[in-house]
């Protein structure tokens, strides 16, 4: 008979975004949005590709990993020591990931340029100017494989590629792996997409500029464990996910979906909105406002570092948990994270912040 599910705790995070590489930086001075190089009329929060920290990864990886992957590896590397300190067998460490598709050309820009120069021999030029391993930049699994090798994760795995909701999918998969005893710890990694025209061209409402969409570049990772930390404990208390189909009567479908997702997230601990110490969401979203009633809403990290796509949820968790109001606790505080993406995904997560046990 399967063992009963066990609680899962968030142990440590690693971030990288326009504000810096710590959760505290998200509470510091807000970086200014910049005009995007490829579309100066649009604003965003670009980030240079980082140099990988020494020790965990071979820095030559920078040749065959896209900038978004390098940001993610930068975060994963910084959780390596905390993971090692758990002293677990590699087979007991899960790895889940939320990684966007890569927009750069698979042959590489040098090959594209060479093909233009000799159009009569373009195929030969392509093969001659594309490094064999360059194609690995196409694959999200490459980034996961680098982490699995460098941080010795050989347990359950799951990868997701989507918009904002992929972060919750990866976090939920990691949580279940630990809660259901298939792993004792899990590394959850996520990255925002590189800032390229694809971000705007893929969705008509973004291409036409009708939505004030300010994307950012960044990554976020969390280490989860079944082992409760000594001090303040952050436990995953519930989550819910749903979808508002484009074909639906949008408002009524969205309300039904939101109600169901909120019920899923709050239900396991029988919570109501009045039990929440804080809600992190999009204050301007009227539909989310309908679901949240008069509950005050924090805007999360997005106004400071931009829309981070698949890494937005994991970044928001770190942002909220670094808030001074939760540094000392007398009793359990519940935080709700609620998001609705422009692609129709609705995601909710509830964290329980529990005071550390006294000896």
């Amino acid at each position: 008979m399967a063992a009963a599910p066990r609680p899962v705790y968030l142990l440590q995070s690693a971030l990288l975004n326009a504000a810096g590489d710590s959760a505290e930086a998200l509470h510091g001075p807000a970086p200014a949005a910049q005009a995007l190089e490829f579309a100066p009329e649009r604003l965003g929060f670009p980030l240079a590709a980082p140099r990988l920290p020494a020790g965990r990864f071979d820095r030559k990886l920078a040749r065959s990993v896209e900038a978004q992957g390098l940001r993610l590896l930068h975060c994963a590397a910084r959780l390596g020591d905390a993971l090692d300190a758990l002293g677990l067998a590699p087979e007991r460490i899960a790895l889940t990931a939320a990684i966007p598709e890569v927009d750069a050309p698979s042959p590489g820009w040098e090959a594209v340029a060479a093909m233009r120069e000799q159009p009569g021999h373009w195929l030969a030029q392509w093969f001659a100017h594309t490094p064999p391993l360059h194609s690995l930049t196409l694959l999200n699994s490459s980034v996961m494989a680098h982490i699995a090798e460098a941080l010795a994760c050989r347990g359950p795995m799951a990868g997701y590629c989507g918009q904002d909701s992929a972060g919750l999918d990866a976090l939920a998969a990691a949580m279940h792996a630990v809660a259901e005893h298939r792993a004792d710890a899990a590394l959850v990694v996520s990255a925002s997409p590189n800032l390229t025209p694809a971000l705007f061209l893929r969705e008509a409402e973004l291409e036409d500029g009708g939505v004030d969409f300010r994307p950012g570049e960044g990554a976020a990772a969390w280490l989860l464990s079944a082992e409760a930390p000594a001090g303040r404990r952050v436990r995953i208390a519930g989550f819910g996910r749903g979808y508002v189909p484009a074909s639906a009567e949008v408002e009524s479908a969205a309300r039904d979906c939101l109600a169901r997702v909120m019920n899923q997230a709050l239900g396991p601990e029988r919570l109501s909105l009045g039990d929440l110490a804080a809600v992190y969401s999009e204050p301007e979203d009227v539909l989310l406002g309908w679901a949240l009633g008069r509950t005050p809403v924090h805007g999360g990290a997005r106004p400071r570092v931009g829309a981070l796509g698949a890494s937005s949820l994991l970044t928001d968790l770190a942002y909220a948990l670094a808030s001074p109001e939760f540094s000392t606790l007398e009793r359990t505080a519940y935080l709700l994270f609620l998001n609705r993406s422009y692609t129709g995904q609705v995601a909710a997560l509830v964290l329980a912040l529990e005071p550390g046990r006294t000896a």
Binding site: E101, F127, P132, E149, C153, R154, M157, G159, P197, S247
Partner: protein, 431 residues
């Protein structure tokens, strides 16, 4: 309280064999394949080094599918295949319209197809260095059916939009393990009660200059020509690399209680799912097959099934020198007790319809479900001279009639991302 039983009640597959799973199944039992000479569009005959593949033949599209919305508008090939397969699975399940919004959608759709034409736009104004600004200036010329306008989760969303699904809607991404991961995730979600119905699977097409060129440069795709259409030969001493296919597969999964309440007839029961990471090397599987065996063992443990009860392993069987040897070792390790690996039938579906990359796990699980239902094992073609390191019973050449109560289906992704699913013959009296 026992977790709910999860059954498969609808099947859909698009492969080189056609657009219906019934044709796929009958062709496979007859020992046929759909691998043939192939060159990418826009390339002069014989100049592309990969010469064989298992493409989808649009001539085989049945008349009743010609007005399907997947064929209209601008979508990638993989999305068209996946949407068609999902619609077939939905129709096959006979699920009433009133239930459609309750269907969760979990899809895998592989790597995006980059358009070389789009990339040329980066130099369109005479730039000497590539410029995204130039691409943006020429946005009107960007193709509608390639990566700059199509996100990888488009497949899951078009299916969900057609159903009016209230979700969850998810896009799995774990290379060639993607569709198996999507199905495994759906199975676990159903078992936990997160949803009552799920349409899960995947679609992919690497049969284009860009993606198959990348696989060629990596050394993964076979360029041999002397074998002709018999190029895909899993576990054979003469295997030389993968032979790509394209298409998609989807399965309708639901709790048994839900299925019986609406009068659905299960094809098979999903019993367990497991995954693992090699953590070994990006470009090669762990040579002893340890990661693969961890995934198989995890799936059997999840199912509560002893290895000795397994009758069939539907292998990943890529026809690459490294995978097939490592997978054989992995099977031997998992089924070592009493040398049960000697009793197993092993099959490699890729010898018949090629490697569907991110989608591979879906049609292969579909085939495994039919093996359980019909008590047949599909053949591994072209296994003329077994590799001495590959010494299992791979069901060479011809399909075999044998009882299949429990089947295990393997899908391993590039970089050492491993999955396994355990299926059981549907029995109405099982507890």
């Amino acid at each position: 309280m026992n977790p709910p039983r999860i059954v498969i009640t609808g099947l859909g597959a698009v492969t080189g064999f056609g657009f219906e799973w019934q044709g796929l199944w009958s062709d496979m039992l007859r020992g046929r394949h759909c691998i043939r000479p192939w060159q990418p569009e826009g390339v002069s005959e014989g100049s592309f080094p990969v010469r064989y593949a298992a493409p989808v033949d649009w001539q085989r599209l049945p008349a009743y599918l010609r007005s399907h919305p997947a064929l209209a508008g601008e979508l990638e090939r993989r999305t068209r295949f996946g949407w068609l397969a999902a619609s077939q699975a939905l129709a096959d399940s006979r699920l009433g319209y009133a239930h459609w919004r309750d269907v969760a959608v979990l899809a895998a759709s592989g790597a995006p197809q980059h358009s070389l034409d789009d990339m040329q736009l980066a130099f369109a104004d005479g730039e000497t260095a590539p410029s995204w600004k130039s691409v943006m200036r020429h946005a009107a010329s960007v193709r509608g059916d390639a990566s700059l306008r199509q996100s990888s989760d488009r497949l899951a969303r078009v299916i969900a939009d057609e159903l009016g699904s209230a979700g969850p809607v998810m896009n799995a991404s774990s290379a060639c393990a993607g569709a198996a991961q999507a199905i495994g995730n759906a199975f676990h979600m159903l078992r936990r009660g997160e949803c009552e119905l799920a349409l899960a699977g995947g679609a992919d097409s690497v049969l284009n200059l860009d993606t198959l060129g990348a696989l060629y440069l990596l050394g993964a795709a076979s360029t041999e020509t002397r074998r002709g259409e018999a190029l895909c030969r899993p576990f054979d001493a003469g295997r030389s690399g993968l032979v790509a296919g394209e298409g998609g597969g989807f399965l309708m999964l639901e709790t048994l209680e839900h299925a019986l309440a609406r009068g659905a007839k299960p094809y098979a029961e999903i019993l367990g799912y497991g995954s693992s990471l090699d953590g070994y090397r990006l470009t090669a599987p762990e040579p002893e097959g340890r990661g693969a065996s961890e995934a198989m063992a995890a799936a059997l443990d999840d199912a509560g099934i002893a290895p000795e009860r397994v009758d069939l392993v539907n292998a990943h069987g890529t026809s690459t020198p490294l995978n097939d040897r490592a997978e054989t070792l992995a099977i031997k390790r998992v089924f070592a007790r009493d040398q049960h690996y000697r009793q197993l039938s092993v099959a490699a579906n890729k010898s018949q319809f090629g490697h569907l990359i991110a989608a591979a796990g879906a049609p292969e699980l579909l085939v495994s479900a039919l093996c359980c239902r019909e008590d047949w094992v599909t053949p591994t073609l072209n296994l003329d001279e077994p590799d001495p390191d590959c010494d299992l019973d791979y069901t060479a050449h011809k399909a075999r009639h044998r009882r299949v109560d429990i089947a295990l289906s393997n899908s391993f992704g590039f970089g050492g991302l491993n999955t396994a699913l355990v299926l059981g013959k549907y029995r109405s009296d099982a507890s």
